[in-house]
């Protein structure tokens, strides 16, 4: 297998996480909603995990709802807060993940006025424009991500929250990429809703969470069953929930060490990149996630470069794994004002705990090889 430099797409399950999951895969089974003893053991495990996930973002356990992943969390946040009210406006950052963007756009059919929030060339909210936008009429919900999945650019959520609340709206924060990589404080950021995903933080795929403040009126997406206080029907995915809990606990414990590890790799990587003529690093002057760097080489097509890197044994991405294979330039980079050709050349390197300095050196060697060839 090629060297894996695509940790924003997904991460391996930490062996400690798998170990915690195994008893629920091979041992005492039980539907967590059942009343008998095994069902109760499963329920206890689910509640312990809820506390662990809550702690990662300094939320209350009662604020955490389980979902099947970040996509469902984002859909639930946007559709669940707009379901039973007369349509007004919904705003979302132009660089949001497709799950937010497309969920938002789907609300147009229901009469919502859906508007993107502009960002500047670094991917940061254009604050004066945002304030004008908020003042232009009633807004129900604003969706902004804590950190961008492609560029790693970190948004000033606290500042946004103050403006959003002053306008009488709620703020949904997609923290799928930020949680576990930088401190994320649901309470201090004053977010009303927040999405999380397990498989971005060395937990299993197929499980996520939505944190919801108690004042938020939410209607469910999946009806049926009293699970998750009636807000999300379906038999609990106990093993995955337990895995997510442990992954969250480890992410919190090891937050600094992990950030330190990837930063120590990213510094020489970026240094090496800057030495390549015609390189451009996106969001370079903004605060970014410690593990992420997205760049383009002038005159090179991203898809072609990806294939060449793949042949040389490096697994990287052009951006969101979800959009792979569509051949479309990144909407994130277009939103930051880049032209289509530059955007089409984008390569994202997202580092993880298994990466080693030698891999970075080899990656740079490979890249220089293409440029000089």
């Amino acid at each position: 297998m090629p060297t894996y430099l695509d940790h924003n797409a997904t991460t391996r399950v930490d062996p400690r996480v798998l170990e915690a999951m195994l008893p629920y895969l091979s041992g005492p089974y039980g539907n967590a909603s059942s009343l008998h003893r095994y069902g109760r053991a499963a329920r206890d495990a689910v509640e312990q995990a809820r506390a662990q996930v809550a702690q990662l973002i300094n939320a209350q356990p009662g604020e955490i709802l389980w979902t099947s992943g970040g996509t469902e969390s984002n859909n639930l946040a946007l559709k669940g807060t707009t379901d039973r009210v007369a349509p007004t406006r919904l705003l979302y950052g132009v660089t949001e993940h497709p799950a937010v963007m497309e969920a938002a756009e789907s609300l147009k059919e229901r009469g919502w006025q859906v508007e993107p929030v502009a960002v500047n060339a670094d991917g940061l909210v254009d604050w004066p424009a945002f304030e004008r936008q908020l003042g232009a009429g009633p807004v129900r919900l604003v969706a902004l991500m804590r950190a961008n999945n492609e560029t790693g650019v970190i948004q000033d959520i606290g500042r946004a929250a103050a403006l959003v609340h002053a306008a009488g709206a709620w703020l949904h924060v997609d923290a799928v990429q930020a949680a576990g990589k930088i401190p994320v404080d649901f309470d201090a950021l004053q977010a009303d809703l927040m999405s999380l995903s397990s498989h971005k933080i060395y937990g299993p795929k197929g499980i996520g969470a939505l944190a919801v403040k108690s004042h938020v009126e939410l209607t469910p997406l999946h009806h049926g069953g009293a699970q998750e206080r009636g807000l999300r029907g379906g038999t609990e995915n106990v093993a995955s929930i337990v895995g997510f809990g442990v992954a969250a606990e480890l992410a919190l414990q090891e937050l600094e060490a992990r950030a330190h590890h990837v930063l120590a790799l990213r510094r020489p990587l970026e240094q090496g990149l800057r030495e390549i003529p015609g390189i451009r690093i996106f969001g370079e002057s903004a605060e970014r996630l410690p593990n992420t760097v997205q760049f383009a080489l002038a005159g090179y097509d991203g898809e072609a470069l990806l294939m060449q890197l793949d042949r040389k044994g490096f697994a990287v991405s052009s951006g969101s794994a979800c959009a792979s294979g569509l051949g479309e330039p990144s909407h994130v980079l277009i939103g930051m004002g880049l032209d289509r050709d530059t955007a089409k050349g984008a390569i994202r390197v997202s580092l993880g705990q298994d990466n080693k300095p030698a891999e970075i050196e080899q990656f740079l060697v490979a890249l220089r090889g293409f440029v000089s060839a």
Binding site: R12, L25, Y29, V238, D310
Partner: protein
């Protein structure tokens, strides 16, 4: 522990776990990624898609992954009707559907969908004629489960599907309890949408699928947006390990279906015969013939449901669907079959599975026979032996459990004893106290009761408390009882019943 609750969830087959592990260990790529890590995961996902399709007689591209059957049912119903447009639309479904179907339909009903809710016959089945009679020119969708999760009854899906196809009406089938248990061949049964769940057939929790027919194409509005996974019908990163496990589970189910079905039917019949031979007053909830192997649902006359469950110890069975167990309401499916609250509440669903042995069936039968006989005797009917419930599996407070599990004063006293009764207005609880007097002093007390374990514990505790006391010493409030037995607010009525019974006894003593 004897696990006879396979209709709620099944243990993971060891072979399924083996199929999952590589994707939880080294091979962790995102199936949507283009690189080799992603390609490996994608290949596993597609292999599993073929395995699931093969179990159904479907094409792989007709399988859409979901997070489980609840999502699959939501996607089928809301997706189909939103695509068509709710305006003027009508659909037909049944009151006996799973909660995820019922609640999805109700949600659309509140938005203007017109719905015909079919009532099952006394055996819990919906007939094809009933469905056809309910159709209107505006009927856009029929949703009917193949096998009912509570009774095991088999609805006439195979007969109905071609009739609905002829009429151009979309047909959704919740096949969660049928898949892997009954042969399903969608190349011959023209249903358009069909929901599946992995954890009901020895696969992992948190993964399911919706079959969406390609020819003629069933069209859906997606319910989860973003990324365009699953042909745009269901976005979100695919959990490779769950999907690989689901595929393997379907492969195994297909291989073993015939042999396992015959074995479980025989075991189920054996359980039913053992219980019916030993206990009068049993009601079969469901159809005696048209039922899936492995599920047996019985109501027990003359016992209260919660006490029955509490008496079963570590025998894991279900009382109604696990999805609504938390609400402790009598099963709405059994109510739809015409059972009253009492009989619906005193029902047990036994669901046998791959690991169930004949010895377990015999032990389970003995446990139930002992518990029912004992509770009936405590309620004043029958002469069966009193059996101590083996284990406090439901977490009753220690003093309640001590009294409930050792009902040494549960008896009737010889003639001449003073008796007094109390009951709840609806008759759901009854408590009878008896006292044998020596002058003004109670030398012996006894009780009988019908009710929940707390009611029975109140009876037992009171009988012990009464012994040795004289008239004039019988001041006991409900609050005292609650304190002594650690009775919570949710069971306050049981303490009130005790207070009433003591007051009534005191009155009888003063008359004597």
């Amino acid at each position: 522990m004897i696990y006879l609750d396979h209709a709620a969830t099944t243990p993971l087959d060891p072979a399924v776990l083996q199929a999952m592990l590589p994707w939880l260990q080294g091979r962790f790529g995102n199936p949507a990624s283009d690189h080799a890590w992603g390609q490996a995961a994608r290949a596993a996902v597609e292999r599993a898609r073929s395995q699931v399709a093969a179990l159904l007689g479907a094409q792989p591209e007709e399988i859409i992954w979901t997070s489980g059957a609840t999502e699959a049912n939501n996607l089928a119903i809301k997706g189909a009707l939103e695509f068509r447009g709710l305006r003027g639309a009508h659909m037909v479904t049944a009151r006996t559907e799973h909660k995820s179907v019922v609640d999805s339909v109700r949600q659309l009903e509140s938005q203007g969908l017109r719905v015909t809710w079919l009532k099952p016959d006394a055996q819990g089945l919906i007939t094809a004629e009933q469905v056809l009679a309910a159709l209107t020119p505006d009927t856009a969708l029929v949703s009917l489960m193949w096998v009912n999760n509570e009774t095991g009854g088999i609805n006439p899906v195979e007969a109905l599907a071609p009739l609905l196809r002829e009429r151009g009406i979309l047909f959704h089938v919740d096949a969660v309890q049928a898949a892997g248990k009954l042969p399903i061949d969608l190349s011959r049964t023209p249903a358009d949408l069909l929901s599946l769940s992995a954890h009901k057939l020895y696969g992992p929790q948190g993964i399911g699928a919706l079959f969406v027919r390609k020819r003629p194409r069933a069209r859906l509005s997606p319910q989860l947006h973003g990324g365009g996974h699953e042909q745009g019908m269901r976005s979100g990163t695919l959990p490779t390990h769950q999907i690989a496990g689901f595929g393997e589970a379907c492969r195994i189910a297909g291989e073993r279906m015939a042999e396992e079905g015959a074995r479980l039917s025989a075991l189920r019949d054996r359980l039913q015969q053992l219980l019916q031979a030993a206990l009068p007053g049993l009601h079969l909830n469901g159809h005696p013939q048209s039922r899936a192997p492995g599920i047996l649902n019985l109501s027990f006359e003359g016992v209260e449901g919660e006490s029955l469950r509490a008496s079963l110890g570590d025998l894991a069975v279900s009382s109604g669907s696990a999805c609504s167990s938390a609400t402790r309401e009598p099963s709405y499916v059994l109510r739809a079959l015409g059972r009253d609250d009492e009989l619906a509440g005193a029902s047990l669903r036994f669901s046998l599975g791959r690991g169930t042995t004949p010895a377990e069936v015999d032990q389970a039968a003995a446990r139930v026979i002992g518990a029912v006989g004992s509770l009936r005797r405590i309620a004043g009917s029958g002469t069966a032996a009193l059996v101590s419930p083996p284990l406090n599996a439901h977490g009753y407070a220690a003093p309640v459990w001590a009294a409930f599990s050792d009902p040494r004063h549960a008896a009737t006293l010889p003639e001449g004893a003073i008796a007094a009764s109390a009951g709840s207005p609806a008759g759901a609880l009854r408590l009878r106290l008896q006292a044998e007097l020596d002058g003004r002093r109670i030398v012996r007390a006894a009780w009988q009761a019908y009710g929940c374990p707390v009611t029975l514990a109140v009876g037992e505790w009171l009988a012990g408390w009464l012994e040795g006391r004289s008239a004039g010493e019988l001041q006991l409030s409900a609050a005292d009882l609650r304190a002594a037995l650690e009775i919570g607010d949710d069971k306050a009525q049981c303490a009130l019943l005790g207070e009433d019974a003591v007051l009534a006894l005191e009155r009888q003593m003063s008359l004597a």
